[in-house]
Amino acid sequence: MKRVELSHGGGGVESQQLIQNLFYRAFGNEILLKAEDAAVLAIEGQVAFTTDSFTVSPLFFQGGNIGKLAVAGTVNDLAMMGAKPLYLSCAFMIEEGFLWSELETIVFSMAAELKKCGTKVVCGDTKVVPKGAVDQLFINTSGIGQIIAPLHAFPSGQGLKKDDAIIVSGDIGRHGAVILAARESLNLQSDLQSDCEVLWPAIQALFNAGVDCHALRDATRGGLSALLNEWASSSQVCIEIDEDNIPIDDAVQGLCELLGFDALDFANEGTFVLSVSAKQADLALQTLQQFTFCQNATVIGRVSDFQAGLVILQSPWGSQRVLEWPKGELLPRIC
């Protein structure tokens, strides 16, 4: 079976093979194929710029792989700023001996994701390191986006306003649940699929429909718990959530029951939250529900001035509790 060797990162003829036969074939566009030291870009107006590195284990999980994650993660960071994702850089650090076929699958997954929003990989780097120097594969993607959100209405974690509706774009916790279920030591089987998804088309639709997004964020590490607490703190508002309205897939819930976890703490890679004025909530929902990955979009709560910095969960029988930041290592509750 063909494997990536140290020579593939050496800058010589084998490197060229890797770049031409794989990366250029998958990502090819007029800028990338110029093969210069740097990409020359022309962008109008304000620019958003972000970076992220991906080290997920396992590399291949139900619903995606590290490549899909590397594109979606960075594209989504730009989208959450109201920026159209235009260009990505892509750096690979590959452990020698990595299976060529697996690298191909990963790279072509990335290409498929890029197509969903017309984003181009315009520069990149490849390093091949000796066995043990990295755990199989690390990918870094940095992204540049053109801000299309109107300047007077820029989504921001500090932008939540009293009486805003809090909307979640879909059921939560699927990515975190998939990764957890994949832990070999737990011996679980399920049909769980990560929610990993490129979100730009939905965000673009919101702006086109005239929805004023006071705040926008994808609920990645730390899940909904971390996101809502960040917002309550940044905007110095109170966020009140109706627990029963939070959509959670049965299998995610099953996993939580089995191990004693809370889906609110699980990472998402294709689910986001927005804060909009109450009168725009319906319009936002209608706009989002056109997309299959947002068909479960729903209002889960509201912003109030009860106590700044606090996130409250309301039960359907009238009791409340505070939703805390997720803390510490996720260990199964056993006995």
């Binding site: 279920a181 011996n187 399920s190 819930q253 089995l258 006995c335």
Partner: protein
């Protein structure tokens, strides 16, 4: 108390192991502690990889039906006469 949850047996495998489903997540569990025989479709309580007991389905259903009645009677006077007692020991 230890975390133990109801799951449905979907398959009885060899060597006294069963596959159980918890709302879409499956796992193999040992039946070594089960005092009574079980079959596919039974509900069992599982804890750290073992099935501990079979859930008493008719009892569970009876409880749920009782609660339903209780809700319907909530504003009426017959509520007081409804018997919600548990099983008395001795």
């Amino acid at each position: 108390m230890c975390l133990s949850i109801p799951s449905k047996i979907t398959q009885i495998d060899e060597l006294n192991i069963a596959t159980v489903d918890t709302m879409g997540v499956s796992r193999q569990v040992s039946l070594d502690l089960m005092a009574e025989p079980v079959s596919e479709g039974d509900y069992v309580l599982i804890h750290v990889g073992f099935a501990m007991t079979k859930m008493n389905e008719s009892d569970a259903l009876a409880s749920l039906q009782l609660y339903q009645q209780m809700i319907e009677l909530m504003d009426s006077e017959s509520l007081a006469s409804q018997d919600l007692s548990g099983v008395l020991v001795k």
